[in-house]
Amino acid sequence: MLSIISLSIFGILNLFLGFLKSRQVLLPATLLFLLVALVLNSLDWNDQALYFSDMLRVNNLFVNFSAIVLVTSLFVVGLSRTFGGDDEHTHPAEYYAILLFSIAGALMMIGFENLIMLFVGVEVLSVAMYVLTGTDKRNLRSNEAALKYFLMGSFATGILLFGVAMIYGATGSFKLGGIATYVEVAIRYGSVSPLLYVGLLLLFIGMLFKVSAAPFHFWTPDVYEGAPTIFTAFMSTVVKTAGFAALYKLASVAFGGAYGFWAQTMAIVTVLTLLVGNITAAYQTSFKRMMGYSSISHAGYLLLGVVANVSASPSAILFYSLAYSLATVSAFGVLMVVSEKKLYEGGADERYEAFNGLAKSNPLLAFVMTISMLSLAGIPLTAGFWGKFFIFSAAVQANLTSLLVIAVLMSCVGIYYYFRVIISMYLKPSDENPVIVSNGFKLTLLLTTALTLLLGVFPDLVKNIF
């Protein structure tokens, strides 16, 4: 709980640090702030309590999800040395501040006990993301992406709020506990208010939009492609993790009693998400856009964990989010340095071809990218494999056989598009000069890669905690 307060204070501090006009201070300061928040977060371990007039629930699930969000943010900030560059018109202090505020929003989404808190968290996170998407001010794509994200996002938030209102109308409560009690009793006596079902659907639609599940995914590829890569990395990891934490809590804690009602709907959404995400990703020519669709497909696997709704679900979702975040951050990190060196149609080259011959020009980056792709594809001895393993195990326990078969088939499609990058790097010739990266950048990438491999060999290291 202290982590949320501290992040908000640090965000304001960061704004004042901007007066120093020194870029050298901002990055280490932000890293330090995040580390402090991470330590404060771990102090909440085994603390079972409600805070802020019962608006926020701190438990181990909250600590775990928050830790994933904070660690991922640390890596994203570690990779962020380039943004702004030497441009007069950029405002790094503001970016870092907004980043910290949005993480505070993510933590609220994870810990909410009251639907109002969920709404506040979603808004804090989303508004920050709208701004960050548009930070590449003179890039038309970035502007378009920000506007698109804002319009679609506020529409979805509206739907979410509408759902909250209806649920309040039906249950007379904003609190998860109160809602759960109502659902249980009402279903037992067969006296469920239709408002509840409508509200539940609207609430889920709002959340599914945030985690970019099909058919609410149309904004994702455009926004991911238009946003500066560093924020795409942030969006596809932190936002997704927080979104799934919230969705899991809604589905399992508040509406666990109505499983029979939402399971079918969510199963259909899962299948659609898996199919749309994977099959469309296979047809992309731009790597960055492929990563956009791939993030949709991973939302599909995570949804599988939500739909399973067994006792193993939360730890499976946690592990999957962690594995996915680590791999995605390294992939976008490599993309950042590779694409900015090359030009294509007047912008950074973000096609698969940009990676041609990277194994020769920079073997380290190629290795980092390979491990990241293997992990996303779910190849054994990477963290991604165990993520899929735990999710599939949960689904087997819930007897979701047909969903599983689709998920397995789609993993095969996933291997196809992830391996295209590996083929480009190792098997295609390149005429480019070596790609040079700074030491801090290298260190961050090596850390994410090492963690991916370590968790691939010893998943117990974190599985015991989750």
Binding site: I379, P380, L381, F389, F392, S393, V396, Q397, L404, V405, V408, S411, C412, I415, Y416, F419, I423, Y426, L427, F458, P459, D460, K463, N464
Partner: protein, 481 residues
């Protein structure tokens, strides 16, 4: 402990090789693989032919999931451990006349591959087995894709996707089995053997597991990746694929499918045998049509592995024993044949039977070795192929006479395509490309001579090998009943 050393030697040396440069790489790789072979021979010599798992080691790897790092050698794995340690030094030696660019990665990948292959054959835990099964795929993919022929990228990608597709279903089957185990779950294979599964569960598990292995071997109709991959890969990779890797599929049938889902095998065994027998005839007929020697040997390998699968599903002692000894024999023969094709290609730049001829006039030594390998491959009595094919066909006959008769055509068809290849390349008039043909050099003889020795050794004294495996196979069949 020794088993772990067998896995670690190639793995650690491979890491060392990545740091080495220059001519030393080849020699270090060869020495490491010879050390590995020496250790394997020691293990073989002290192996007790009974039903137990020996040289075992078990360590709780992932406690929360009940996954153990459990390895050991028993009667079913012993010959395959021998196969994968025997062939790798010969494969490495066979590359000495050829310089591959970036040799440190090349030889490191071969040794990584060997480590994973040994791991597959000694794993006693289902998920450990699966890891090694997949881990073997990555190095061979890169060897084939980096040093292969013109179409390598497309062809090897197809191979990769195909096999991953199969193994994902296998994984699903293993996860399902794992969740059926009582208590806190265990993924030990022995824990899977005793599960009480209903007939319908076994039926669907049979297909989930079978498809993974069927693609690896490959069995008709899952074979379409195979000929192109064999042809486009550099010859050392082809040898690894055909000599050792396809045995992962047949081994998996014996180790995983038969004991875990015996009722599923009862239900669907006939379908599997029919597919395998179709593969035998179909592969042989295509082989007869081939002009490209490498492609011809590739199809012959497809036909042979069909017979191994048919023998396994016959569920007879003869069929299983035959398939185990045939895995060893086929590995030896096919590596010899691919090497000879490579020798001919490196001197004439041609593998086309219409352009070759009369090689024997300049190189009698080569033709002697070639004929020995071919005779082993067509199962002439007193050669290694005879023992395996005889037992296999006996097993299939016991299962079903008609299928036995159809499978028996492999002997005739095999002789047709193999002898046709010898006749067209070795005999007849010399052509423009074979006029300057030189006979084998010392390196090449050093590769072929041990292979030829094994062709006759297994052919003349099969009992020593069969005795090693018999108790374990008999126990397996008893447990299935």
């Amino acid at each position: 402990m020794l088993t772990l050393v067998l896995i670690l030697i190639p793995l650690l040396v491979a890491l060392v090789l990545l740091a080495l440069r220059g001519g030393a790489v080849k020699r270090v790789a060869l020495i490491a693989s010879l050390a590995e072979l020496a250790l394997a021979v020691y293990v073989l010599a002290s192996f007790q032919p009974d039903t137990t798992s020996q040289f075992s080691l078990s360590y709780h790897w992932i406690k929360s999931a009940g996954v153990q790092f459990a390895i050991g050698i028993d009667g079913i794995s012993v010959l395959l451990v021998l196969l994968s340690t025997l062939l790798v030094p010969l494969i490495i030696l066979s590359t000495f006349n050829h310089s591959y660019r970036n040799p440190s990665s090349f030889y490191a990948l071969i040794l990584f591959m060997q480590s994973a292959l040994v791991g597959v054959f000694v794993a006693k835990d289902a998920f450990l087995f699966y890891f090694f099964f997949e881990a073997a795929l990555i190095p061979i993919y890169f060897i084939a894709a980096l040093w292969g022929g013109e179409n390598r990228i497309k062809v090897t990608f197809k191979f990769f996707l195909y096999t991953i597709f199969g193994s994902l279903f296998m994984l699903l089957g293993l996860v399902y089995l794992y969740l059926q185990t009582p208590g806190t779950h265990s993924s030990l294979l022995t824990a899977f053997y005793g599960l009480n599964l209903s007939a319908s569960q076994q039926g669907f598990l049979f297909w989930a597991l079978f498809i993974g292995f069927a693609i690896k071997m490959p069995i008709f109709p899952f074979h379409t990746w195979q000929p192109d991959t064999y042809v486009e890969s550099p010859t050392p990779a082809t040898m690894l694929l055909a000599g050792i890797m396809l045995k992962m599929g047949t081994y998996g049938l014996i180790r995983i499918v038969l004991p875990i889902v015996p009722e599923g095998v009862q239900q669907w065994g006939l379908v599997a045998i029919v597919l395998a027998v179709i593969g035998i005839v179909y592969g042989s007929i295509i082989a007869i049509q081939q002009q490209d020697m490498k492609r011809l040997v590739a199809y012959s390998s497809f036909a042979h592995v069909g017979l191994m699968a048919a023998g396994i599903f016959s569920l007879t002692l003869d069929g299983l024993q035959g398939s185990l000894i045939q895995m060893l024999a086929h590995g030896i023969n096919v590596v010899g044949l691919f090497f000879i094709v490579e020798i001919i290609f490196s001197r004439t730049q041609s593998r086309d039977l219409t352009q070759l001829g009369g090689i024997t006039q300049n190189s009698p030594v080569l033709s002697v070795f070639f004929i020995i390998m071919v005779l082993g491959s067509v199962a002439l009595p007193l050669t290694n192929g005879f023992i395996g094919e005889f037992l296999l066909l006996k097993g299939v006959f016991t299962y079903n006479t008609w299928l036995g008769i159809i499978a028996g055509t492999t002997i005739i068809l095999g002789a047709v395509y193999m002898l046709r290849m010898v006749q067209k390349s070795m005999f007849g008039l010399q052509t423009t490309v074979t006029e300057q043909f030189t006979d084998l050099n010392l390196n090449e003889i050093l590769v072929l001579a041990p292979l030829a020795v094994f062709v006759f050794w297994i052919g003349l004294f099969p009992n020593g090998f069969l005795k090693l495996t018999e108790p374990a196979v008999a126990e397996l069949l008893r447990a299935m009943k």
